[in-house]
Symmetry: C2
């Protein structure tokens, strides 16, 4: 049974990485000591080793350790054997490119569908949607496709940001960008604010955290849903 | 001789579209009555006709009219015959996708290199760089390539936005995103603030407007350049 946490961000303001997710992670990874970490998104261009080591510090606090997928000669096999998986944030284009180039899109999808507990944050959450086309990231690399895992039947916009009513900036707001997406594509988009996450258990998708999420459906006015709302029928 | 205005935005706060560029446009399009308009970026998903008609209002104020490239059965020929060209903003992925699919990347490049006066704003400026990989836009469509016109020997980040020192948001700042780009690609990036533009005359590239621009070079600390600075040697 699919068992995932799809989080807007790894870190919320004034708190250490993953700290706000502590209880949820203890439940997700219950009975699991070692987590397979996917560092492909490489925030700030740090090495895969550095990124894995940073993540390890956060996981040690809940008495777990992480091992980077890049240390395995057969990453598909590593995913198959993993007891738990975590994909961290960074650049979604880079992450998706590396998932395709290392031929692990299908193995990752299969592992998640077969019930391996999965945590995604930011870019690692974005890939749980149908496509990566509602990422906020810069296209620093050209991936073979924008299609992603489709663990949930919609797209995700992590780090969702409300328009600033005092802004004089003429760049598009997040809402405008998602509206542009809906001029071409029909799938709904869940704008997940920092501190929110989705809990996926089998077919059930629940909004968690203290904040509401903003839902964008084609040809509809965007609307808010409250924590504990089911999003399973959003498709 | 190449003759371009590459502007961060079409519109600055408190002013009408293109108003702040009035004098520069009168010089750029001197002696030209009709401008070929490329509406492919379609901001907000409006039709090509609607977008062209909106732009026409702004151009009427300087006694010029615009005609949309989408009204020609042979857009490559239309570019060849154009006396002046303007590519408006919207979504850069959509613009680049349409330029490729309508087979006008080369014709547009040739027209600009042969001296047809060109104005780009926002997405229409982004495409004047080597690649579109420092756009701020959402990847709402998968273009055949990220390679763009290379009118200037660097990349452009339009609507450049300084980090907000009071922000508690954990999404990447513009500077962090460009740093991520430089982990993979060597070409410099010019962060053009709203109200700034580049004046390209042959090999000469000058920063115009009242604001400084922020220059990003691989393995260097980002720095500011003042208006009237030459950027021709940035490559």
């Amino acid at each position: 049974m699919t068992n995932c946490i799809i989080a807007s961000t790894s870190t919320i303001h004034g708190s250490k990485p993953l700290e706000y997710l502590r209880e949820a992670l203890l439940e997700l990874y219950s009975g699991i000591d070692e987590i397979l970490f996917i560092p492909y998104a490489r925030p700030g261009g740090i090495t895969h080793d550095e990124y894995t080591s940073n993540v390890n510090i956060a996981f040690n606090k809940i008495n777990k350790k992480t091992v980077g997928i890049h240390t395995f000669s057969n990453p598909a096999e590593a995913l198959k054997n993993a007891k738990g998986i975590f994909t961290g944030g960074g650049n979604t284009f880079l992450l998706v490119d590396q998932l395709y180039r290392n031929k692990v899109i299908e193995p990752l999808k299969n592992a998640i569908h077969s019930g391996t507990p999965y945590l995604g944050t930011s870019a690692g959450s974005n890939i749980c949607g149908l496509t990566m086309q509602t990422t906020n990231d810069m296209p620093i690399v050209y991936p073979p496709s924008f299609k992603t895992l489709g663990i949930v039947p919609f797209n995700i916009n992590p780090h969702y940001l409300d328009p600033d009513p005092n802004s004089t900036h003429k760049g598009e707001t997040r809402e405008t960008r998602i509206k542009e997406f809906h001029n071409l594509d029909p799938q709904p988009v869940v704008g997940l604010r920092e501190g929110s996450w989705l809990n996926v258990k089998g077919q059930e998708v629940l909004l968690k955290g203290k904040l509401s999420a903003r839902i964008f459906e084609q040809n509809k006015t965007p609307y808010e849903v409250e924590p504990e709302s089911a999003l399973s029928n959003l498709n």
